[in-house]
C-alpha cells in the first residue's frame, strides 16, 4: 500500500506540476485585453 500510494502520488504530482506550468505559460501570453476602442460611450464592461 505504501509503495502504491507513493507511485500514485508521484504520478498525480507530475500531472499537477504539468498543469501548473501549462496554466502559467498560457496566462503569460499577451492577450488583446489592452486594446483600446475609441467609441464615445464607455461601457461598464469595457476592458
Amino acid at each position: 500500500m505504501g509503495n502504491f500510494g507513493g507511485v500514485v502520488a508521484a504520478i498525480v504530482g507530475v500531472v499537477l506540476a504539468g498543469l501548473t506550468v501549462v496554466t502559467a505559460v498560457n496566462v503569460s501570453q499577451p492577450s488583446d485585453a489592452g486594446e483600446v476602442s475609441h467609441e464615445e460611450l464607455i461601457n461598464y464592461d469595457d476592458n
Binding site: G5, A9, L19, T20, T23, V27, E39, I42, Y44
Partner: protein, 587 residues
C-alpha cells in the same frame, strides 16, 4: 510528581500550536505580497468601481443626503474621515492588504483543532480564488471587506454560542465595518445574526437580543436614506439581465459559479479561467471540497454547518437565479417593485457565503486524503500541493492581478482645479456626462469617474449604466436624469443653474461627447487642457428632493455610538485579560 508528567505534552502541544500560528501568519503575508506587491508603488489603484483620491471631502452626500441612491453610504463618510489621518493612498492600500491578509488568516483559523497544513489549505482556497480576483478587479473592495470578515464572524459567533460574551464586541465591530455598504452589511449581518440567534448555544437571551439589535441598527446609515428618499428606492428591471451572472469558464454557468467565478462583467474575468489546465486544477479543488464535507461536520458541529450550508445555498441560488426557470421574472419584480430590491442584481456577489464552506471543506478534504496515505512525506506533499493548487489554478491573480491593478497618479492639473473650486455657488457636473472614464495616465482602464470624489464638492453623477454596447440600464437619480436632459437642450447653462449646478468640469483626456455650445456660455475659471473648470453664471437654484437630514444624521450617530461602545468594550476586555495574565505570573 504527577504534574510535570501530565504538563509535558500540553507544553509541547502549545509550542507546536504557536509554531503553526507563525507559519500560517507567514503564509498569509506571502499570499498578500504575491497578490498586491505592485501596489506598493506610489499612486492610486483605479479599476472599474474602485476609486481612490488623495483627500475625499466629507459632504452631505457622504451620508446619503443627496438625490442619488446611497450605494456607498456610509463608506464615503468613513473614507473622508480616515483619509485625513492616513491619506487616501495609504488608506486604500492598507484596506486592500487587510482584506487579502484578513480573509486568508480568518479562513486558516476558522477550523478548530486541525493541523497547520489544513489551515494553510483553507487560507489559500479562501484568499486566492476567482471571487477574490473578479471582485478586486471590478473594484468592489467594500464587498470584499465583508468577505474577509466572514471567517472571523464564524469564529466569534462560535465563541458567543459557547457563552463567551467578550466575543460580542469584536464581532459587532466587524459587522459595522462590513456594513459600510449595503451588500457588505447583508453578507456579514446574515452570518453573524444566524449564528447568534440559532437555537442552542450557551449565550444568554440578553446577548442574543443585544447582538441582534446591534446588527440591525448598524444597517441604519444606508437603510434610513434609502427608505426616506422622496423618490422610490427601486431600480430598473433592465439591470437584472445586464448584471446577471455569466459563464466565465468552459464549465458553463453552474460550473463557473461552483468554482467561485461567473461575474457578469467579462472585463473582470481572469484569462486563466478559459484554460483547460486551470479548469482541471479548479475542479480538483472542488473535488477535495466534496471529499471534505463529512469532515466539516466533525469540526464545525451541526449548528455552524447548518448556518453555513443554508447561506451557501442561498448565495448560489441568488447568483444562479436569473438562469433558473422564472428566475428573471421574480428578480425583475423584486428589483422594480420592492424598495432596496436592486441589491440582489449582480447576484454573483452573494457567492461570498458559499466561498467560506467550500474553502474549509477543501482543506478538510485534503487532510482526509493525506490521512489515507501511510507515508508521512507523501502526506505532507499532498498538503503542500493542496495549499499551492489555488495559486496554480489562478496564477494571474499574482502581482496585481497580472497588471490589472496598479497605481496611477493624477495629473497635477486636477489639484489646481480642486483649489480653484470654492465650496459655495452650486454643485458640480463633470463632462463628458457618462459614468465611466478611460484615462491614458491610468492605463486606459475603464474606471468610474474619480473627479466627483477628487474635487471636494457636491456633484451630480450620471447613474445610467451603459452595459454590453447596446444596453443602458436607467439609474434611480432623478436629478442626474434631469441634468442629462438639460445638456441636450439649447439653453443648457440656464437649465443647469435651475437644477443647482454651479460648476462644470471637463475632462479632456477621456472619450466622450461634449454638449454643443454649452462651454461657450460658461465663465472660464481654470483652463489647462486636461481638466478644465467653468462657472455657471446666474442664479443657482437648490435641489431639495433629498432625504430629510435629522433621521439620517440620527442613524449615523447610532452607528457611531455602537462602534464606540464596542471598541471600548474590546479595549476593556483586552486590558482585563492582560492584567489577569500578569497577576497569574506574579502569584
Amino acid at each position: 510528581m504527577l504534574a510535570p508528567v501530565s504538563a509535558a505534552p500540553t507544553v509541547a502541544r502549545h509550542r507546536r500550536a504557536r509554531r503553526g500560528d507563525r507559519v500560517l501568519l507567514a503564509w498569509c503575508a506571502l499570499l498578500t505580497v504575491a497578490m498586491l506587491g505592485p501596489l506598493a508603488r506610489p499612486g492610486y489603484v483605479l479599476s472599474y468601481d474602485m476609486v481612490a483620491v488623495p483627500d475625499q471631502a466629507l459632504l452631505p452626500s457622504s451620508v446619503g443626503l443627496s438625490s442619488a441612491m446611497p450605494r456607498a453610504v456610509p463608506l464615503d463618510a468613513a473614507v473622508a474621515i480616515l483619509d485625513d489621518v492616513l491619506t487616501g493612498q495609504v488608506l486604500q492600500k492598507l484596506a486592500l492588504a487587510a482584506i487579502v491578509f484578513g480573509a486568508a488568516l480568518g479562513a486558516g483559523r476558522a477550523l478548530p483543532d486541525v493541523r497547520t497544513g489544513t489551515r494553510l489549505v483553507a487560507a489559500s482556497a479562501y484568499g486566492w480564488n476567482a471571487y477574490m480576483f473578479e471582485r478586486l478587479v471590478i473594484g468592489h473592495w467594500p464587498t470584499l471587506i465583508a468577505y474577509a470578515a466572514l471567517p472571523w464572524l464564524l469564529i466569534l459567533g462560535r465563541r458567543v454560542r459557547a457563552g463567551r460574551t467578550t466575543a460580542l464586541a469584536p464581532a459587532v465591530l466587524l459587522v459595522g465595518v462590513s456594513s459600510l455598504t449595503p451588500t457588505g452589511g447583508l453578507l456579514a449581518a446574515a452570518l453573524f445574526g444566524a449564528l447568534v440567534l440559532a437555537p442552542g448555544g450557551r449565550q444568554p437571551t440578553r446577548t442574543r437580543v443585544v447582538a441582534a439589535a446591534a446588527v440591525l441598527l448598524l444597517q441604519a446609515p444606508w437603510v434610513v436614506p434609502s427608505v426616506l428618499r422622496p423618490d422610490p428606492a427601486v431600480s430598473d428591471p433592465a439591470g437584472v439581465a445586464a448584471f446577471a451572472a455569466a459563464a466565465d469558464s468552459p464549465l458553463g454557468l453552474l460550473g463557473s459559479l461552483l468554482t467561485l467565478g461567473g461575474i457578469w462583467n467579462d472585463g473582470a474575468v481572469p484569462d486563466s479561467r478559459e484554460l483547460a489546465s486551470a479548469v482541471v486544477l479548479t475542479v480538483l479543488l472542488l473535488a477535495l471540497a466534496a471529499a471534505g464535507v463529512t469532515e466539516l461536520r466533525r469540526h464545525l458541529g451541526r449548528t455552524e454547518l447548518t448556518v453555513l450550508g443554508v447561506l451557501a445555498a442561498a448565495g448560489l441560488l441568488v447568483a444562479a437565479s436569473s438562469a433558473l426557470p422564472g428566475g428573471d421574472t421574480v428578480l425583475e419584480w423584486l428589483v422594480s417593485e420592492v424598495p432596496g430590491g436592486g441589491l440582489i442584481r449582480d447576484g454573483q456577489k452573494f457567492l461570498a457565503w458559499y466561498a467560506l464552506p467550500v474553502a474549509l471543506a477543501a482543506a478538510a478534504g485534503a487532510a482526509r486524503l493525506a490521512r489515507a496515505v501511510t507515508r508521512r512525506r507523501v502526506a505532507a506533499g499532498i498538503m503542500v500541493a493542496a495549499a499551492l493548487a489555488p495559486i496554480a489554478a489562478l496564477p494571474d491573480l499574482a502581482w496585481g492581478a497580472a497588471g490589472r491593478l496598479e497605481p496611477s497618479r493624477y495629473p497635477a492639473a486636477w489639484a489646481d482645479v480642486r483649489t480653484a473650486i470654492d465650496g459655495d455657488g452650486g454643485d458640480l457636473v463633470v463632462l463628458p456626462y457618462q459614468p465611466f472614464r478611460r484615462f491614458p495616465w491610468a492605463g486606459d482602464r475603464t474606471v468610474l469617474d474619480p473627479a466627483p470624489r477628487y474635487l471636494g464638492v457636491e456633484a451630480v453623477v450620471p447613474d445610467a449604466l451603459p452595459v454590453g454596447g447596446d444596453t443602458v440600464v436607467p439609474g434611480e437619480d432623478r436629478r442626474a436624469a434631469a441634468v442629462a436632459a438639460a445638456l441636450e437642450t439649447g439653453d443648457a447653462a440656464e437649465e443647469l443653474a435651475t437644477l443647482g449646478v454651479g460648476w462644470v468640469a471637463v475632462e479632456r483626456d477621456t472619450p466622450g461627447e461634449l454638449p454643443d455650445g454649452l462651454l461657450e456660455s460658461l465663465e472660464s475659471v481654470e483652463i489647462n487642457g486636461t481638466l478644465d473648470l467653468y462657472r455657471v453664471s446666474g442664479d443657482i437654484g437648490t435641489w431639495t428632493r433629498i432625504p430629510p437630514a435629522p433621521p439620517v444624521i440620527a442613524a449615523d450617530i447610532v452607528f457611531s455610538v455602537i462602534l464606540v461602545v464596542a471598541s471600548a468594550d474590546l479595549a476593556r476586555n483586552a486590558f482585563s485579560r492582560r492584567r489577569g495574565s500578569l497577576r497569574s505570573l506574579m502569584s
